[in-house]
Symmetry: C2
Subunit: 557 residues, 2 copies
């Protein structure tokens, strides 16, 4: 086992990840602060320089062979073109490369694959700052978030997927001596249980979290013996390209076929996702993105040999029913709505509030007063020059801006209007502050849609129980990745939890302080439940890993 | 936890099952010999009497409510009608019953469910002999096989599914205290991870192994918090009805809603399977049966919220390449072909043999001589009055007899002709001995079909490597549950194993003595791989259990 030393080298990392994954306690292998004390005093500057050096030229993938041209076209939401040309590959080339790499990769031991993958992650983590700036300038995230989401948080999600896969593959013995007693005689068989990966994984990335949402599927596939092709979103190529460039360097330096992990780049004008997904050699597909394209993939893969893991759109919801600390609750929600301008798949959209008001330690606050207070909280954050612009970031695409305009013109009462937000140093940034609308129950058709972006609706309900039911029905019909409730009476909390479990959504309750419903922590929070229309996958439960391989038995005397 | 005492009572049984499931060593909780010393001196007679008493009258399901009429029509393959009338239920009644039972069942702890399910199995195991005779007289199996397949082996498969489900659900903690250090402060959250079963399982039974093939899906569903409806095959109702009658008695006696496990009976004239399967409340479906109906179910469930677990048809194959003990090998294969008249989903159909003969310690035996010798071995077994009829059993349906006729008239050379076999005491039994045909490679269209029943083909191939490739291609295209190779040179064994793993089939190598390719041992042999067209399920790997539930996170300060 030539790569066993890498397993030994990373055994403590793996074991700690497995232990955290099992116990679900806090764990972070890579620290989240983008701090010079942790990552080196010049790390940020070096990363920025590396990012700048990658602009306006070709992007080299010396270890991914067979390119037949170049593709590019990214544009920073902060207002400038990246002008990077990536090598392009035909589906045939990508699949031939992948098939050749698969032969070696699947025959490595589980421990070897784990060691190699962690080595890949460790070496790539040296580029966290460059990856962070590239994420900022493709997705529009503020830098701190970009650093965390595409760096430590994404890499921890990868490590989590490795841990889950490792646990699954270690569930059953690799071999056994089977002795069946039969009266005076017996039958002896030697049995082997071979892991047979499904083959080639295609991970279809999204425009907002090009690494965080892609790594779980990629690494779940890799640890279980598959090879992977990461199809990047045409507007967010650079972050994952930097990672894959590094992974391929690592693999090649170890003498492993670097095509174990490939990138597939395309453009909006000439998309290749469908033609790749349709190839019979692609046997697992991970997808993050719109429900419409997700549904199309479902129809493409139905009745085939392909397993499809999805995170599609949903309508996340919250209920403000009873609060113990009104300011803290609204501060928390205001931050949630503002973070990355509401462009997280986990951001709350629909906020249900009893029409007769919300009980607080100081008495009932009316629906309208609550709306005003939330507006003020958002204002306070947005107009805080130190905090606001960095929290909001930029809009990843003009379509979000158009959606905000559409919502403004929907006829609903505007509680808080959206306005441009200056991003220091980036005059051309596409940025706007949260739009908050009041939606009565007659506006069901509006609030039942996902309004991806800084758009939320405050919705009066008859009472707390009706609010819980409204959330439940919405989640069952339209899906959701998150549900937040603010309640104080334990019997109401229990009612909410019971109904929301039934609805199949992850639940946050009474969050205040520096923890937000949008956040999903690796090793502790399963991201997505797979139990509602927002998607069938959950990072990184047993289904997420065990559906990527089969076990083949061999028995002989 | 009111049922915790049952967990404690059966903890040793559960732990031993889990340990065997993990290590894959031999394990049998229920002994397989139908012996008076084990099961009581009068057990066989009592079982026969119980079976006879159930004939010619109504079958009582006192704990399954809402019947709207009776349904029956089973006919023993040994030549008499059973004349049993079972209560019938509408889909609405079955689903309403199931929904009500689900509420209590899903809220029990994992340990409680395990204890209750093992208690159900233990009490039902007291009826092994009645279940055995009822299996014999619905499927046509000989009694010993009927006893084992529907009794100890099936019950061990149920226990295995419980063990796999228990292991899966124990993979991650049920709750956690999550503390995130943030410099001088920290965030504390209490987290809970709730198991949310998918809901109502429908297990669609087959006519040949009405219990063995149904229990894994049923018990995998039950241990993971789902309730189940067992839709029995119209020609093999009694065996599973006896089990479910007992399970419901047990559940009711414990104060649990007995509709946790229901039976659905229909007739060939008025089938209800599709209308049940289409109901949105049915969220998981286990299916054993023909590929055509399985494909129909796949199209029905594509794009829905349903998980479908299948065991469809395949074309099992063998290669006789090199043998160390010619007689032992052919004895073994002759028994495999004869057991239950080839009506096992695991029986070999296509036997590839090098056209220039097979090497033995005594030199090469020619293709034709090998064929003759195999014929003689089958003759010896068939004409052994003590062994033959009981091994062959009866044909479960006239369609099998018609298939034998069709094969006889296919134009292929008959190596061994099929003839009626007398079943002592059952003059009207539908029974015939194995038909063995020689198929040249020009007969691909014939051998690429599944010929379910006592029909096999001896197929000359250029050499061993061509035989391995022929098996591989057949399995990839047409599926298989088993592949058997007889080879001696280690490099050829390795080549065969590598190619057959690629093909995704379970492999048996050089079996001789009292162990046959048809057999699949609970806790040790995963049945089905899920990796070829013969089905997507494997008893009872992690996917088989983990796809039946989701995990819902709840977090609060």
């Amino acid at each position: 086992m030539p790569f066993h030393h890498l397993y030994e080298q990373h055994q403590a990392t793996l074991n700690a990840a497995i232990e955290a994954n099992r116990t679900r306690v806090f764990h972070a292998h890579w620290p989240e602060p983008p701090s010079g004390k942790i990552y080196g005093e010049t790390a940020q500057e070096d990363g920025l320089n590396a990012f700048k050096a990658s602009l306006n030229g070709p992007f080299a993938l010396p270890n991914q062979h067979g390119s037949n041209g170049t593709i590019g076209g990214e544009h920073s939401p902060y207002g400038f073109p990246l002008n990077i040309d990536y090598p392009g590959y035909t589906a045939d080339t990508l699949i031939t490369n992948a098939q050749q790499a698969l032969t070696q990769w699947k025959n490595l031991s589980l421990q070897e694959r784990a060691g190699i993958l962690i080595e890949c992650l460790e070496r790539a983590s040296k580029h966290f700052f460059a990856i962070g700036f590239s994420t900022m300038h493709t997705t529009g995230q503020g830098f701190i978030m970009a650093f965390q989401a595409s760096g430590p948080h994404a890499f921890d999600r990868a490590l989590e997927a490795i841990a889950s896969g490792y646990m699954a593959l270690n569930t059953f013995a690799e071999s056994a001596q089977w002795t069946k007693p039969m009266g005076k005689m017996q039958v002896d068989l030697t049995k082997e249980y071979h892991i047979r990966p499904k083959g080639i994984n295609l991970t279809i990335g999204c425009s907002t979290f090009p690494i965080w949402n892609s790594f779980p599927g990629m690494f779940a596939s890799l640890i279980t013996g598959n090879v992977t092709i990461a199809k990047s979103h045409p507007s967010a190529i650079l972050p994952i390209a930097l990672c894959i460039q590094s992974f391929q360097d690592t693999l090649a330096s170890l003498g492993i076929n670097p095509h174990v992990i490939q990138i597939a780049v395309d453009s909006k004008e000439a998309p290749i996702t469908v033609s790749l997904a349709e190839r019979p050699e692609i046997t697992t597909i991970d997808y993050t993105g719109s429900s419409s394209f997700g549904n199309h993939l479902e129809s493409l893969t139905a009745g085939t040999n392909k397993e499809l893991f999805t995170e599609k759109a949903g309508v996340n919801c919250a209920l403000i029913g009873e609060v113990a600390q009104l300011d803290a609750v609204l501060d928390n929600i205001a931050f949630s709505l503002s973070l990355y301008s509401g462009q997280m798949c986990t951001t709350t959209q629909n906020i249900y509030i009893p029409k007769n008001g919300v009980s607080t330690p100081d008495g009932i606050i009316s629906f309208d007063d609550l709306c005003m207070k939330l507006k003020e909280k958002v204002d306070t954050l947005v107009y805080n020059e130190k905090m606001g612009p960095g929290t909001l970031g930029a809009l990843h695409s003009p379509a979000v801006k158009e959606r905000v305009e559409k919502a403004r013109n929907s006829g609903l009462t505007i509680i808080r209007d959206s306005e441009p937000v200056a991003q220091h140093g980036f005059d051309q940034a596409l940025s706007c502050s949260p739009l908050i609308l009041k939606a009565d129950s007659v506006d069901q058709s509006i609030i039942n849609e996902e309004w991806f972006g800084p758009i939320s609706f405050l919705i009066p309900v008859d009472d707390i129980t009706m609010g819980i039911q409204a959330m439940k029905q919405s989640i069952i019909k339209h899906g959701a990745l998150t549900a937040l409730v603010h309640l104080q009476q334990e019997h109401l909390i229990e009612e909410a939890i019971e109904q929301l479990i039934d609805a199949g959504v992850n639940i946050s309750c009474n969050l205040v302080g520096p923890i937000w419903v949008n956040q999903s922590a690796g090793f502790s929070d399963f991201h997505g439940t797979g139990a509602n229309p927002a998607g069938n996958a959950s990072f990184a439960d047993l289904s997420f890993v065990s559906m990527r391989y089969n076990i083949i038995g061999m028995r002989r005397p």
